[in-house]
């Protein structure tokens, strides 16, 4: 493996003291490809992802990226680190009453000053890039439509465009396909895999669908009970592993 982009050591998260959701995670994420995290609901996949960009405060441990410990950053340094980490959400989390274009441009809010955002005077290169991304995600005609007028699949495409607008060094995707129908889910995964592949951005994706994970990921991490219990390439995962991750075997 090449030099890892993200190095997580001994990560513990307790929402309530004495009840850890993450029980000491050690992971290093390589500089390329999609890493899929699978595991039952409530096992801390989402918490793990949110600890990386500090939407959730880690209780213990270190998260090294670009020579900085993300777990220790504060204020401006934290914001500067966040803008290098894109995130795609299960419920898209678009600002519904803003246009598609403005939602994509919010990916630049870590870079543009307040007055520019207020007056909607985004730099020329940001606008060019936003239009190029809208073309790339297949929504070239939708720039002026309001986000709440889009379908689920279209919204997630905007979500991906927004995340890539940040020119991220890492993309986090928290259940990006769970709210979508099976066909759209595959299309959105394909789009994400293609665009991040072209840009050379590594992706960590939480995903429920094991088949989708196997199809798109270069590496699968199985979590259960706040611990990593499987870590390997997609073809190494067996029914025994799945039974250990999700519990029981009748469903297999």
């Amino acid at each position: 493996m090449t030099q890892p982009i993200l190095e997580i050591r001994g990560l513990v998260k307790e929402y309530q003291p004495g009840k850890p959701v993450l029980r000491g995670i050690d992971l290093s994420i390589g500089a390329q490809g999609i890493t899929a995290i699978i595991g039952p609901s409530g096992t801390g996949k989402s918490t793990l992802l949110r600890c990386v960009n500090r939407l959730v405060e880690p209780t213990q441990g270190s998260i090294m990226m670009g020579g900085q410990d993300l777990a220790r950053l504060r204020g401006g340094a934290l914001r500067a680190a966040r803008r290098r980490i894109g995130m795609v959400f299960q419920e898209y989390n678009l600002v519904e009453r803003l246009s598609v274009m403005e939602n994509v441009l919010t990916g630049r809010l870590g870079y543009v000053p307040l007055w520019r955002a207020w007056l909607r005077r985004y730099p020329r290169e940001d606008l060019d890039r936003a239009f190029a991304l809208l073309d790339a995600v297949g929504l070239p005609e939708q720039a002026t439509r309001r986000a709440d007028a889009l379908s689920g699949g279209q919204r997630q495409r905007v979500g991906i465009a927004r995340a890539l607008m940040q020119s991220p060094a890492l993309l986090l995707a928290d259940e990006p396909t769970s709210s979508l129908d099976p066909k759209t889910a595959v299309e959105v995964m394909e789009l994400m895999a293609r665009l991040t592949g072209e840009a050379g951005v590594p992706v960590i994706v939480n995903i429920h669908n094991v088949e989708l994970a196997k199809r798109f990921a270069v590496r699968i991490i199985g979590m259960t009970g706040g611990r990593v219990v499987f870590d390997g390439p997609p073809d190494a995962i067996s029914n025994d592993h799945l039974s250990e991750i999700y519990g029981g075997e009748d469903w297999l």
Binding site: N53, L55, R79, A80, A81, R82, R83, R84, I85, G86, M87, F89, E91, Y92, N93, L94, V95, E96, R97, L98, E102, T106, G107, R108, L109, G110, Y111, L114, A117, W118, G159, R162, Q166, L172
Partner: protein, 266 residues
């Protein structure tokens, strides 16, 4: 297996029934007590329709010639008091609304402090605010503007705090993840969500303030209340009728305007 066992189902437990009975009893007791306290004099009550008819006869026909220029000028002043007071009130209310919204301001002490300010503003009637500001600025429309503004803080602040608390956290979380600073998250994540509520509340409060500023003149805080007070004091009931009609017309127009705009907001 023959099911002969009947299971009982009642809507309320005995405790709930007792509670409901006590609430009914208290309500009736409060009503009886209230009626006994206000001491309605029967003679005045029977006399009331006659007095009312007499008053209406004195008002008819309204002295419409009196409208221009004195009533018109006072009416315009009332409009200006209401508008300026609403704008000032909103400007003063917004910081407290942000402070009172628990999803935006995480400090419970500041939440409570903001709530206290908002409740204080509402607990004082605009006429009382007007009395206070007449004492500060002297009689005139300036006192009226401040009275309206200070009464509006509580209303606008409370409703905006509620709208802010109802804003979805998801978009704001997404903007946090892009590295946006707090003002940018408010501007691009929260403001678009509360914008319809904001304009709705602002227009609604302006509508209310128009009616409230019509009476402020009774305590010397400017506006059409001043001419109304004068006309009543000099028993010029035809003029009183003109002033009341003018107020009615303006309130009606404002109501129609506000309803139309609010319907288009969402």
């Amino acid at each position: 297996m023959s099911a002969t066992l009947h299971r009982e189902w009642v809507r309320h437990t005995p405790g709930q029934r007792l509670g409901r009975f006590l609430v009914t009893l208290l309500t009736v007791a409060a009503l009886v007590w209230a009626i006994r306290t206000v001491e309605i004099i029967p003679e005045f009550l029977t006399d009331a329709p006659e007095q009312m008819a007499d008053l209406l006869l004195r008002m008819w026909p309204p002295d419409l010639g009196h409208y221009y220029p004195s009533v018109h000028a006072a009416l315009m002043e009332t409009l200006h008091i209401a508008t300026l007071g609403t704008i000032l009130g909103i400007a003063l209310a917004m910081p407290f609304a942000l402070m009172a919204a628990r999803n935006i301001c995480r400090s419970a002490i500041l939440n409570a402090l903001a709530q206290l300010v908002l409740v204080s503003s509402r607990s004082v009637n605009s006429l009382v605010w007007a009395l206070i500001f007449v004492a500060v600025f002297g009689p005139g429309p300036a006192a009226g503007v401040f009275a309206i503004a200070f009464r509006s803080i509580g209303f606008v602040g409370k409703l905006m705090a509620e709208a802010l608390e109802e804003a979805h956290p998801g978009p704001v979380e997404a903007l946090t993840a892009t590295g946006a600073s707090w003002p940018l998250r408010m501007l691009k994540g929260v403001w678009p969500q509360v914008q319809p509520a904001f304009w709705g509340v602002a227009l609604f409060r302006w509508d209310i303030n128009l009616r409230e500023s019509a009476v402020l003149g009774l305590v010397g805080a400017g506006g059409i209340g001043v001419v109304l007070d004068d006309a009543i004091n000099f028993f010029q009931w035809e003029r009183v009728a003109t002033i009341l009609l003018a107020i009615l017309a303006v309130v009606l127009l404002a109501e129609i305007l506000v309803t139309r705009i609010r319907a288009r907001l969402l």
